[in-house]
Amino acid sequence: MRRIAADLKGRPGPLIEVLHAIQAQLGYVPPAAVPLVASELNLSRAEVHGVVSFYHYFRSTPPGAHTVSVCRAESCQAVGAEALADHARQRLGVDFHETTPDGRFSLEPVYCLGNCACSPAVMIDGRLHGRVTPERLDALLSDVGRKR
């Protein structure tokens, strides 16, 4: 993590870039990263912590093996996103912002994936899916579940 910070610190306004690089590598920004990044970038710990906590995308806990992001914004709501969200919660047995006890799935809310002409939308491990019904979500989850 110190090396990531050192590599990027010459760039203007590097903190968010550094956090992105850390999360890309580890899947999250561990609390231990905060003092390291702070000292490398000459910032206070409070500043670094403030940025990590401000942005929804940065997480401080390890994600599950698969991240399931269900869109909860208006366009998807207009065609059943709330029922889909309920279904996802039920099927995975966790609420939003939680990870299943076996560490396989993290369920996250997202507010628009830019796929509103094909609502409701879901993103699983960076793959976008459109017109997702509860049945289709089940099939998608079984699919990724099989891959590890």
């Binding site: 914004a73 609502s119 976008l128």
Partner: protein, 514 residues
């Protein structure tokens, strides 16, 4: 002979299976010993026909859709590579009425070209605008943008030429061009489509902006939710550097323009321009107090242009074909064309670019085909989560800045989200407050606390507790947020609530809807 086939790599098309279709087509061609050039284009925007596969024929491009991977062997049997007849055949792409009636200026190349190829871009008129701009004085470039009547497509609709003029007039020194690609509004996807389908037009637009105001560095602030756009932009930027359309010597002019992508991190407020600048500097996206304007003191305290993706991508065509050409479209103070996005409960959703001047009804029914559910449309929300709800009785309103303003609504980034008659407007109002509470940057109390209070009050209304007095309380709270918030999030989040109260009061005061 080599056949040319187009299968979109647009995220929306991929979300419906375009990746599998492309894979199947390549596999089937190989099995049949056919030579194939498979081009991964953007989407034409007719998402109800995606995955839309096209083949190049002597008569022009022929379209088939919506295609599933399972349809592929049958398409080969029907000789679709030569435009053969098949139940999924849509004829010539350019003759599909939904597309043929559009007036595509900004989206002229989206879905047509190979987004990764500078050569293809140039064949389709790319870099003509920059070529012109290089032969003009900076003042003349700015004057052209001003005369075109182009207004910011990100939401605030500020005249683009005036913004550029302000930056041009600042003393020489480091200046920046920043592109707002945070596209957070529900119901909008035009930025995404453009960045995936024709990223070079954004790159060219930013380069022209740089020349016009004397800026040598550009940043694209891209939301993290758009990994496909990130890839397409990265490829296109690298190709533009390679071909010397970016870098130290743009088109051999001796002028420099460098361009970089910076990723956001899932904060809606970072679409507000001063919050975006804070984020670009690596900080919490807290809104800055204005003045000073970003045009005077923006990124790292330097004069900065902040423009939306569509605004910047409209510039090359304006320089290429002249201000009069662009201004010849549209009416009144809404000049040019508007890429409208049809979303939500709509049968034929997608991107419609037309000159200003269509009504909501024409868009929702002529293009949209009514609701996807087959039930009557009850309301639309225009302009994203901060936009007003408009009832069916006002569907004859023109979709332009002035006409929507006159009914207390706003155009925003041009997204229209349709709802059928099962929508519960009290719940939608609650969601507006919830969204504001989740996304508030926390700087001012009316927004941060008011939105949470708003949620609680609406919960009580929904639960049937003292409805009349709670509705009054909600109205007061909205007023307070509108008056007392620093930026548009807290200041406009009440708009959907107030419009729901105005047009759908029964949803708040009568018994709960089934």
């Amino acid at each position: 002979m080599t056949f040319t086939v187009y299968v979109p790599r647009d995220a929306g098309a991929l979300s419906l299976g375009a990746g599998e279709v492309a894979h199947e087509i390549a596999r089937e061609a190989k099995a049949r010993g056919l030579e194939l050039q498979l081009i991964r284009n953007g989407s034409r925007g007719a998402y109800w026909l995606e995955p839309l596969v096209e083949v190049a024929t002597a008569r022009g491009r022929m379209a088939y859709g919506p295609v599933t991977a399972g349809d592929v062997p049958g398409l080969f049997e029907a000789d679709f590579l030569s435009g053969g007849a098949h139940p999924l055949s849509l004829g010539l792409t350019d003759d599909i009425p939904w597309l043929a009636t559009q007036q595509r200026l900004t989206f002229a190349r989206v879905g047509v070209v190979d987004p990764a190829s500078v050569a293809d871009y140039v064949v389709h008129g790319g870099y003509q605008g920059l070529r012109r701009a290089l032969a003009m004085s900076p003042e003349a470039v700015v004057e052209t943008v001003l005369a075109s009547g182009l207004r910011g497509r990100g939401g605030a609709a500020f005249p683009t030429g005036i913004k550029w003029k302000t930056v041009l007039e600042q003393p020489a020194g480091q200046k920046y061009i920043t592109c707002n690609a945070d596209e957070g509004d529900s119901g909008t996807f035009s930025d995404r489509m453009l960045m995936e389908g024709d990223p070079l037009s954004l790159i060219e637009g930013m380069t022209i902006a740089g020349l016009a105001v004397g800026a040598t560095q550009g940043y694209i602030y891209l939301r993290a939710e758009y990994p496909h756009a990130h890839r397409a932009l990265s490829v296109a930027i690298a190709a533009a550097y390679q071909a010397r359309y970016l870098g130290a010597d743009v088109m051999g002019s001796g002028k420099r323009f460098d361009l970089e992508i910076r990723l956001g991190a899932g904060a809606y407020i970072c679409g507000e321009e001063t919050s975006m600048l804070e984020s670009l500097e690596g900080r919490r996206g807290e809104v800055r107090v204005r003045p000073p304007l970003p045009a005077i003191k923006g990124l790292f305290g330097r004069p900065t242009i902040v423009n939306n993706v569509i605004t910047l991508a409209s510039v090359p065509a304006i320089l290429h074909r002249g201000a009069e050409h662009y201004a010849g479209f549209g009416l009144g103070k809404s000049r040019g064309t508007l890429p409208i996005q049809l979303a939500g409960n709509i049968k034929r959703g997608g991107l419609v670019e037309r000159a200003f001047g269509l009504t909501l009804r024409e868009l929702l029914y002529d293009y949209g085909g009514g609701s996807a559910s087959g039930r009557p449309l009850r309301a639309v929300q225009v302009g994203g989560p901060l936009g007003a709800y408009i009832p069916a009785s006002q569907f004859d309103t023109l979709v332009d800045y002035e006409a929507l303003g006159a009914i207390g609504a706003l155009l925003g980034h041009g997204g229209i989200v349709a709802f059928d008659d099962t929508v519960d407007m009290a719940r939608m109002a609650r969601y507006a407050m919830e969204f504001c509470a989740i996304e508030s940057c926390g700087k001012c109390t009316p927004c941060r606390i008011g939105s949470t209070r708003g949620m609680e009050v609406i919960d009580r209304i929904i639960a049937g507790q003292e409805r009349e007095s709670n509705v009054r309380r909600l109205e007061e709270l909205c007023e307070l947020m509108v008056q007392g918030s620093l930026c548009g999030l807290g200041g406009m989040a009440p708009f959907p609530v107030q419009s729901a109260l105005r047009h759908f009061r029964d949803d708040f005061t009568a018994g709960a809807r089934p």
